[in-house]
Amino acid sequence: MVITTLVPAFPPDLRIRTTLADCVWNRLAFPAYIFGNMEKSSHSAAGANDDEQLIVSISQGDRSAFGTLYDRFSTPLYSLALKMLGDDAEAQDLLQEVFLSVWNKASTFRADRGSAFSWVVTQLRNRAIDRIRSRRRRGELLEANAPDLMPVGSNQGSSAENCETNERAREVRSAMEQLSDDQRQVLRMAFFDGLTQAEIAQKLEEPLGTIKARAHRGMARLRTLLRSLHE
């Protein structure tokens, strides 16, 4: 299948025509963030390096680089925040907090420890988990003291149907679909709900060892699937 992709990372006069296969190696394709150091990755590594260069520029106070990084990362990060927190306002607040942290801590980023995307996702996820746990504690207190005041539902995923799926998301979701339901469920509960393996075991009423095995096999399978797309 041949498609045309406009690559916003390049100036308009350098827009390139590319195939889906090429897109995999483009900055917009996820392997750029994961397997930038693999054999065929000269193209994709450029994308990852591009992000790292942006972080370096940000550490020097470059607002324009910050704006570019925001354009690249804000949608997946906001989607993740919304998925985890299930609340528009809180997701926006968290996104703002994370990007300001990126601005303030850009110099602490170490490219040898992971990609810029992974660095920012980790920051967002950790903060989201803190909020979820804090909310859970508040909820438990509220439930114990005033059960009638508990919220009834949220707007989680309310606008998800209207959103366009980009290539990276498509690839990841496709890989996720190839996992078993059990594996997918455990990964999502761990990643999006911030649950520990013990909490997942309790919720699913399964032994802890079973949860560990599903998580391990799920992650290993996901890694293999994502890598195999580029070999």
Partner: protein
């Protein structure tokens, strides 16, 4: 550690599933690439969330919250230097303290040596009976000195060696004599017709006189006209009688 075990730990680590012991086991394995690989895989799970772009206004809002004047690299650089700066300060403080300790030790050694020399001298004097006949006399304030507050804190003492007919005058807080006057020291021999002058005094000093008839003469200080007198003419300020 088997590669299967490593893979399992790295996969679970990416989901924050490891306890401290397992985390340590993994991080000590040196398999950084594997750990990173799984961490990157986990980060990509972000794309599994339904895609929702943030409000377009949010970017402007965040950009607006960035500090207007900032030099992040400089700030961070300082943060990075801070541990080294603290270490350097501690090192300098350590050197200064070590130097002070060295100086203090040298001072203590010097003082010990001085004390040892004093002990030796005292022992020598004791064994040589040099102090046996030494007379120590504290001079008392006379009426003229008692009437003058300037002499209230004055202390005059004489150490007299009868064998050598010489002494040592020690003065403390003796005010300067009035203009045109001097203090004069006298040795009082009961068999002499008049006090024997031991000279003019303005500070602690040794003195010597002609042989006297007693081993315990008296001493006196009077205020005399400049140049001194052959016999006391002015008021007796301090004195101690012979034999006292």
């Amino acid at each position: 550690m088997s590669s299967e075990r490593l893979n399992e730990l790295a996969a679970l680590h990416a989901l924050d599933f490891l306890d401290e012991a397992e985390k340590k086991e993994l991080l000590n394995s040196g398999e950084d690439e594997l750990i990173r690989d799984f961490a990157e895989t986990a980060a990509l799970l972000a794309y599994d969330a339904p895609e929702v772009p943030p409000s377009p206004a949010l970017k402007a809002q965040i950009m607006g919250r960035l500090p207007k004047h900032r030099a992040p690299s400089r700030i961070i650089a300082f943060t990075q230097w801070m541990p080294y700066a603290i270490a350097a300060c501690l090192m300098v403080l350590g050197i200064v303290q070590a130097q002070r300790i060295f100086v203090l030790k040298a001072h203590v050694r010097q003082m010990k040596a001085g004390l040892l020399a004093d002990d030796t001298e005292v022992n020598h004097l004791r064994t040589s009976n040099a102090l046996k006949d030494l007379r120590l006399a504290m001079l008392q304030e006379g009426a003229a000195a008692q009437a003058n507050a300037a002499y209230a804190s004055s202390h005059i003492m004489v150490a007299w060696d009868p064998a050598q007919h010489r002494g040592m005058l020690s003065m403390k807080n003796l005010p300067s004599p009035p203009t045109g006057h001097v203090y004069q020291l006298w040795v009082l021999d009961p068999k002499a017709q008049k006090p024997i002058s031991a000279g003019l005094i303005n500070e602690s000093r040794p003195f010597a006189v002609e042989p006297v008839s007693t081993s315990q003469p008296g001493f006196a200080i009077s205020l005399e006209p400049s140049g001194g007198m052959p016999a006391p003419t002015g008021p007796i300020l301090f004195a101690v009688a012979p034999g006292q």
